[in-house]
């Protein structure tokens, strides 16, 4: 059988990325041009600036990915591209670029759901992992608990009702003066703090036991800060970070374990930017060990937005026959499992 080589392009937020993936799971190159430093000045991602940077970098990133992989466009089987969800202006750069390349080289075009990409990051380093499995997807924009029934087929069990988990990290980080991006900074500071120091509420929702809510804990942190400020009380930021993080991680792990039990899932994976959080990784690993489940998580480099995961997801879509037309548009609020 001939090898299937896919060039994948990802530009949904603030990373311009391209990758060449062989047969779905072998990453030949994984180039990421990050804009984080630029957006730090503004305390968050500025969509217009992100879009401008994408267009300045995209050809160089693609050419680097091809050269790192030691191949040319003529060796490819298809082009994969993230077409949602994400920032529309940012997505459009990758989508227009991918369509033009695919058109000019007469290659099939496969549009990929960004979250499907994050889930697929788990396949890359775990050759034995195959659906079905339970996956917790946590990032700055998403919090989903899903059963991956087959490649590209999902049953959504739970989702956040308000803030995404990563969003709560960013907001708390800003409130305690850590700046952007909040996740890694809270994670680092929390290592020096006592997670039992302050008890913050855990968001519980009555009707769906798998749904999440993080606005409550975020508000509790902000109230705690306000109160301390008014009474002139000294705050231990490390304790605060550790306690907040524990409250979020506990809920993520509890809901995942509950769903695993209810649906009889023995394989548990995590995905998305927050999946690189140290506390979440170790708490989930421990819970899985206690329950006798297999635990899968991508390396931190594959948790962040990257194109290798998009190439992996594109491969399975390509094998299923998914093809997109030259009118493919960016869909900023694309739902999981929709196309």
């Amino acid at each position: 059988m001939n090898d299937t080589l896919i060039l994948a392009i990802e530009s949904s937020c603030d990373e311009t990325a391209a990758s060449v993936v062989k047969n779905g799971r072998e990453v030949l190159s994984n180039v990421i041009s990050s804009q984080i430093e630029l957006h730090t000045l503004y305390g968050g991602v500025v969509p217009e600036i992100a879009s401008r940077k994408h267009i300045e970098k995209i050809n160089q990133v693609i050419e680097q990915a091809l050269s790192d992989a030691g191949c040319t466009l003529d060796d490819l089987s298809a082009i994969g591209v993230t077409y949602g969800p994400g920032l529309v202006g940012a997505l459009l750069v990758g989508v227009a670029e991918a369509k033009a390349i695919a058109y000019a080289k007469k290659l099939p075009l496969v549009g990929v759901h960004h979250i499907e990409g994050h889930v697929s990051a788990n396949y890359i380093e775990n050759p034995d992992l195959e659906p079905p499995f339970l996956c917790l997807i946590v990032s700055g924009g998403h919090t989903h608990l899903v059963i991956v029934k087959d490649y590209g087929e999902f049953e959504i069990l739970g989702r956040t009702r308000d803030d995404a988990a990563g969003e709560a990290f960013d907001k708390v980080a800003r409130a305690i003066g850590l700046g952007y991006p909040g996740g890694p900074k809270v994670d680092r500071l929390a290592k020096e703090g006592n997670p039992e120091a302050i008890v913050f509420p855990k968001g519980k929702l009555g009707d769906n036991p798998y749904d999440f809510s993080f606005s409550g804990v975020k508000s509790a942190v902000l109230n705690y800060l306000n109160h301390a400020q008014m009474t002139g009380e000294e705050i231990n930021r490390a304790d605060l970070a550790a306690s907040f993080q524990k409250s979020v991680v506990d809920v993520l792990v509890e809901h995942t374990m509950l769903a695993a039990q209810d649906y009889g899932m023995k394989k548990i994976a995590i995905a998305g930017g927050v999946a690189s959080n140290g506390a979440l990784r170790s708490a989930m690993e421990q819970a899985c060990r206690e329950h006798g489940y297999r635990f899968y998580r991508p390396s931190p480099i594959l948790c962040t937005d990257n194109a290798a995961m998009i190439g992996c997801a594109a491969y399975y879509e390509y094998r299923k026959g998914t093809r997109h037309g030259w009118d493919l548009n960016a869909i900023p609020n694309l739902r999981l499992g929709e196309r």
């Binding site: 000045l41 503004y42 500025v46 217009e48 600036i49 879009s51 401008r52 994408h54 267009i55 300045e56 995209i58 050809n59 160089q60 693609i62 050419e63 466009l73 529309v88 202006g89 459009l92 750069v93 990758g94 989508v95 227009a96 670029e97 991918a98 369509k99 033009a100 390349i101 058109y103 000019a104 080289k105 037309g325 030259w326 009118d327 493919l328 548009n329 960016a330």
Partner: protein, 250 residues
């Protein structure tokens, strides 16, 4: 020589192929659909209808700004992708200068105006001399009142075109003191044929760039950068209202 051209800088989406002798194809749509959905299917239609082998193109010309930021990037990313895949150079053509070429050899001044919001227009002032486009004022973002004052000082007849015309027509009629006219429907919006024609002149002058180098010329920084610069000025004790950024006032 053969030039493929794209313009998605405004409401119009337009694709054309031009060689030394004729305009082989031009496909222009002025409708609501997003450029992301129209531009490449339009190119595909041209390729099929004219049995065009994309490999025979010498360069890709693209309306490089000013214009709608997102529209510019769709055209730009499409051109960059084609350039990368076909290994062809790009020609960034100023949107407004290309529009002036709709009115080749029209006597007097030619003034394309695009609605730039915030009561401004993207514009430039041009004239044809012996069939060659001359730039009288380079493209800029400027208040419509300031533009009219500029034109009145030049004592020459002016032809306006562009999507700024319906927006500012009353003000133009009321305050222009020199003879003026408005271009008719078939000449008053972006046309990729004009982008290709001007692009071909640029190509012959060696004004090309690689697909990797190309980026749009927005004439304006982003709102976040503008606001941040204003905050910095305020912090430094300067008056933020005198802030000018590229294109905000010329």
């Amino acid at each position: 020589m053969k030039i493929l051209s794209l313009d998605s800088s405004g409401n119009v989406a337009s694709v054309a192929v031009l060689d030394d002798r004729s305009l082989i194809a031009e496909y222009t749509i002025n409708h609501k659909k997003t450029h992301s959905q129209t531009l490449l299917p339009m190119l595909d239609e041209i390729v099929r209808m004219t049995e065009l082998d994309l490999g025979t193109i010498d360069a890709i010309a693209v309306a490089a700004g000013p214009g709608s930021f997102t529209g510019l990037r769709i055209g730009s990313a499409t051109a960059k992708g084609l350039g990368l895949a076909l290994k062809k150079p790009l020609i960034g053509v100023p949107t407004v200068a290309a529009m002036a070429c709709n009115l080749w050899n029209t006597p007097g001044l030619i003034c394309p105006i695009m609605d730039a919001r915030r009561n401004q227009v993207y514009t430039g002032i041009y004239r044809f001399t012996d069939g060659k486009l001359e730039t009288v004022e380079d493209q800029m973002a400027v208040g419509i009142g300031e533009l009219i004052t500029n034109l009145n000082g030049r004592k020459e007849p002016v032809t306006f075109l562009g999507d700024g015309v319906p927006v500012f027509e009353n003000q133009i009629r009321e305050t222009m003191q020199v003879p003026f006219s408005f271009a008719p429907q078939h000449q008053n919006r972006q046309r990729a044929g004009s982008v290709a024609w001007l692009g071909m002149q640029y190509y012959m002058e060696g004004k090309t760039e690689t697909a990797a180098e190309h980026r749009p010329d927005y004439l304006r920084v982003s709102q976040a950068e503008r606001e941040r610069a204003a905050r910095e000025k305020k912090k430094a004790g300067e008056d933020p209202s005198v802030l000018t950024c590229p294109g905000d006032a010329v």
